[in-house]
């Protein structure tokens, strides 16, 4: 039996609060922890069958043109080589998130430097790698390809439905007492999940099993089937452990299709792992952005106008474009508004989702601009934000579902000793270090995605949760077990959660911070269904049933579950769909960041000394795993502020820094012992759990707090991220001149 809900309105009743097992909201350890710390959790490549062949992808070395020929014979003659696959079904780039169908296919038409064009398969990895390197390719290059968004010849699209304007911002800028009018740029970023994309394909007749590293299995299954030209039911994908995703594993990738084609051709399992360089070149990048921001405020700092116009890029024909201005329409008040969005078509690696597409870079620029307004008006940055919080969504004129930005700002300021900050830049010095404090708001839209789950109450009184949902480090195993444990009155060690297998009911998948809430709701509903069945057996109503520690308590009776089940098991299914609640109210999560930096007065090097994040995201299902998600997001923000930057060759657009020696992720020493505070909140509009997404909130604006702290330390305003020392040192010199 299926219990179903469509989120058309508030769900007043807080079911979890009525339960008594007391596992929800507790900082419990991850149930799969022992497997992970001992190396026993099987990620995709860990499932390598003994008879598997290894495939290595070959890349295009032009940015636009046609593959004319490859010297297959010479490579086939090398020891161990089994096949060279250059099938028309190979993918040009991964599918975009939730596409549910194959992306552009065919290896002959080259659209970007690094595009996978063939797979060399051999008995060993060493043989395949050598074969791939030895394969001679002949391209016919189109020398006129545009590879940079600022190329005057670039084709720029201005989609009508992504422009919005109300009031008269130009006039507001004229009359405003305080204004900011500036351009901000962010470079391309990569997800850089530590597990490179990898797939092992194995056929049994016309049925394909793929061990992959993916975030959204129900979509990935459809994409893979479509790419291969087979039925969805012929495909099973397993991804019980995923070594990080951050958007990079939303859509099926070239290695999965190549492995499937090779395994079919050879009749043996084929494993294809991308090298780190290939992940950089042929998996989604976050588009670089150019953002023109205008702020107009009155004498007291109240915003009367906001303009946010962005230029991003992607390959010709790709639908995705970085939604830079996503939070701008609702974060602050202001009657006069301009939202602009333009897309440059360039022959660079495909742009797609990287953790918090939109707000990660868009809010960062907006929050630097707010700091400029604070400096220009002499108003404290925290206060400036507080006085500009709107009463309702100012663009759509609808109420907020719940809104704790003010609390997050106040709590953060208090905990960080913000009142010790000196507002004039460069006022605090510690030896050769200039010390500064900065802050920013956090905001991220909240989403709900259709999701199903099955829960079984086994005859022995234990529970099993099954869904094709993934745990990409997000804590899914933990929180789903907690929800089922709470609803069925089971201690954590009596609940097993099984994930990452398309044989289970289709879930939302992991993406857009919607995983835990969407899929957790499906689990809650499935448990409600089981509770209903228990009531029928016990002849009581739902109100009269208490479940705790593996027992049912009805009236004055306390009965062990196995006794009630009497050898049988109960199965419940849950199904949640988004509904009108998405339009009736504005749903979002909020928070604040506070950062203290030390900038070396001689070298311009920035060291982050302290950082605090305060977040409100509805009910926190598990404060331990939620905190870790916030730490991770904020660390992405540290990278964005200080070191991360994709660099493209201006001639052919290829990614120059395609490894970890050249693309600088924050390392342990770059990250102080960050503080995270999670505020207590419920959002009855979001879902019956009253929880909202938290996986991305921690990155949305985080970098701005650091860049604003650099300003406070030095008086140097960085508008082009990252704030590397070469950009700071010039300003330091001119200050001392």
């Amino acid at each position: 039996m299926t219990s179903h809900i469509k989120m058309d309105e508030r769900v007043e009743r807080d079911r979890l609060a009525e339960m008594v097992q007391a596992v929800i909201g507790k900082p419990l350890d991850r149930p799969e922890g022992a497997l992970k710390v001992s190396g026993a959790a099987p990620y995709a490549m860990d499932r390598l069958p003994a008879n598997a062949c290894h495939g290595v992808l070959v890349r295009a070395t032009v940015s636009n043109g046609t593959l004319r020929d490859m010297d297959v014979d010479a490579v086939q003659a090398l020891p161990g080589i089994r096949a060279i696959i250059a099938d028309d079904r190979l993918l040009r780039n991964p599918a975009q998130g939730m596409a549910g169908e194959a992306p552009i296919q065919g290896p002959k038409d080259i659209a970007y430097f690094g595009q996978p064009i063939a797979l060399v398969v051999a008995e060993t990895f060493e043989q395949a790698r050598h074969g791939a390197q030895a394969l001679k390719l002949r391209f016919e290059a189109d020398g006129t390809a545009i590879v940079a968004p600022d190329d005057p010849k670039a084709d720029i699209e201005t989609p009508e439905d992504e422009q919005d304007s109300t009031g008269d911002l130009d006039a507001a800028m004229q009359t405003a007492r305080h204004t900011v009018d500036a351009h901000y740029t962010t470079p391309g970023h990569v997800s850089a999940a530590m597990e490179p994309h990898a797939s092992i394909a194995e056929w049994n007749g016309d049925r394909l099993t793929l061990y992959g590293s993916y975030q959204m299995l129900r979509f990935n299954r459809a994409e893979l089937a479509d790419a291969l030209g087979i039925e969805e039911k012929q495909v099973r994908i397993l991804a019980p452990y995923v070594g990080g995703g951050f958007g990079s594993k939303l859509g099926i990738g070239p290695e999965a299709v190549a492995a499937a084609l090779a395994a079919k051709a050879l009749g043996v399992p084929v494993a294809v792992a991308m090298s780190r360089q290939q992940v950089f070149e042929s998996v989604m990048r976050r588009s670089e952005t150019d953002q023109h921001i205008r702020l107009a405020a009155d004498e007291q700092g109240r915003l009367i106008g906001i303009g946010h116009e962005a230029l991003v890029s992607n390959l010709p024909g790709e639908e995705f474009s970085e939604p830079v201005t996503q939070a701008t329409p609702f974060l602050y008040q202001g009657d006069h508004r301009v939202i602009g969005h333009r897309i440059a078509r360039v022959h660079r690696t495909c742009a797609g989702s990287v953790r918090a597409p939109g707000e990660a870079v868009g809010l960062t620029a907006l929050e630097i601009a707010l700091d400029e307004l604070a400096a220009a008006s002499g108003i404290d940055p925290v206060k400036l934000r507080l006085i500009n919080i709107p009463q309702k969504d100012p663009s759509q004129d609808i109420p907020f579902s719940s809104h704790m930005l003010a609390e997050a700002l106040e709590e953060g300021a208090k905990r960080f000793d913000w009142d010790r900050r000196r507002s004039e830049p460069g006022a605090v010095r510690d030896g050769e270090w200039l010390i500064g404090m900065g802050m920013a708001s956090a905001a991220r839209v909240n989403m709900l995605i259709e999701s199903k789950a099955r829960v079984t109450l086994n005859a022995n009184g234990t529970g099993t949760v099954e869904t094709d949902m993934t745990d990409i480090g997000t804590g899914t195993y933990t929180v789903l077990s907690q929800i089922a444990g709470e609803m069925l009155g089971l201690p954590m060690d009596s609940v097993e959660t099984l994930l990452g297998d398309t044989a289970y009911p289709p879930a939302s998948g992991s993406g857009g911070s919607f995983g835990a809430a969407s899929n957790g709701t499906a689990v809650l509903l499935a448990c409600e269904e089981i509770r209903q069945q228990l009531c029928e057996r016990l002849d009581c109503d739902m109100q009269g049933l208490t479940l705790k520690d593996g027992h049912a308590i009805v009236g004055n009776r306390r009965i062990a579950l196995p006794e009630i089940l009497d050898g049988s098991r109960l199965v419940g299914e849950g199904h949640v769909e988004p509904g009108k609640a998405e339009e009736t109210v504005r749903q979002a999560t909020y928070g604040s960041y506070f950062a203290e930096v030390a900038v070396n007065a001689i070298t311009g090097e920035t060291r982050l000394r302290r950082m605090l994040g305060v977040f409100a995201a509805g009910r926190i299902l598990n404060p331990k795993t939620a905190r870790s998600q916030c730490l991770g997001g904020m660390t992405f923000g540290i990278g964005m502020a200080l070191t991360e930057e994709l660099i493209h060759d201006p001639r052919d657009g290829h990614i120059v820094n395609r490894d970890f020696a050249e693309y600088h992720l924050p390392v342990n020493a770059d990250v102080p012992q960050i503080d995270v505070v999670l505020l207590d909140e419920r959002d009855a509009w979001a879902n019956p759990l009253q929880a909202k997404g938290i996986g991305e909130l921690g990155i949305c604006g985080a970098a701005a707090s650091i860049v604003n702290a650099i300003y406070n330390a030095t008086g140097i305003r960085i508008r082009d991220l990252p704030a590397t020392l070469d950009k700071i040192i010039d300003g330091l010199q001119s200050r001392t001149d």
Partner: protein
């Protein structure tokens, strides 16, 4: 070619292509899948193992260079039912999320604590003539060869500090 390795206390004869890295030998030939490949270029630390007691990136060395060497991988540090103190502390402090970098972090931390105990200085050591302290700065400096994109860094530090404090007491 043949190479004799002592892996987690067991003698293993490897018959592999001389181009095989120690990392690929462990995974593809000896089927020890706990050691991970994050970059294959010595840039991430996911493949960290102990060779004769010292931590190294197993992707940066060929298996055939290790004839007679003693290798300890994460499987040798502790299985799921037999976790070391560090492994337990990583769970308690949530010193990981996706878990992919974790075997490398734990192998690295295991050897790192020995390095501090042996008095090896680091970039963070204020006075190289004295013994390095078990401080956040020392540990985070010494653990910076192990990338974690999930960024469990603060939790990793807490886990290591807890184990180090326990060691000092005993």
């Amino acid at each position: 070619m043949n190479t004799d390795l002592m892996v987690n206390g067991q003698a293993q004869r490897l018959d592999a292509d001389p181009r095989t890295t120690l990392l690929d030998a462990l995974r593809n030939y000896l089927h020890l899948m706990g050691t991970k490949k994050g970059c294959d270029h010595g840039q991430c630390g996911a493949c960290t193992v102990l060779v004769n007691g010292r931590r190294i990136n197993s992707c940066l060395t060929l298996a055939c260079m290790h004839d007679g060497d003693e290798i300890v991988t994460i499987e040798g540090i502790g299985g799921p039912d037999d976790l070391s103190a560090l492994q337990q502390a990583f769970i308690a402090h949530d010193g990981f999320q996706c878990g992919y970098c974790t075997p490398g972090q734990i192998c690295s931390a295991t050897a790192m604590l020995d390095e501090i105990a042996a008095g090896w200085a680091s970039h963070a050591t204020k006075n190289v003539a004295s013994l390095p302290g078990l401080t956040v700065e020392e540990i985070s400096e010494r653990m910076s060869g192990n990338l974690c994109r999930c960024s469990a860094y603060p939790n990793i530090i807490d886990a290591i500090l807890e184990v180090a404090a326990g060691k000092e007491q005993s």
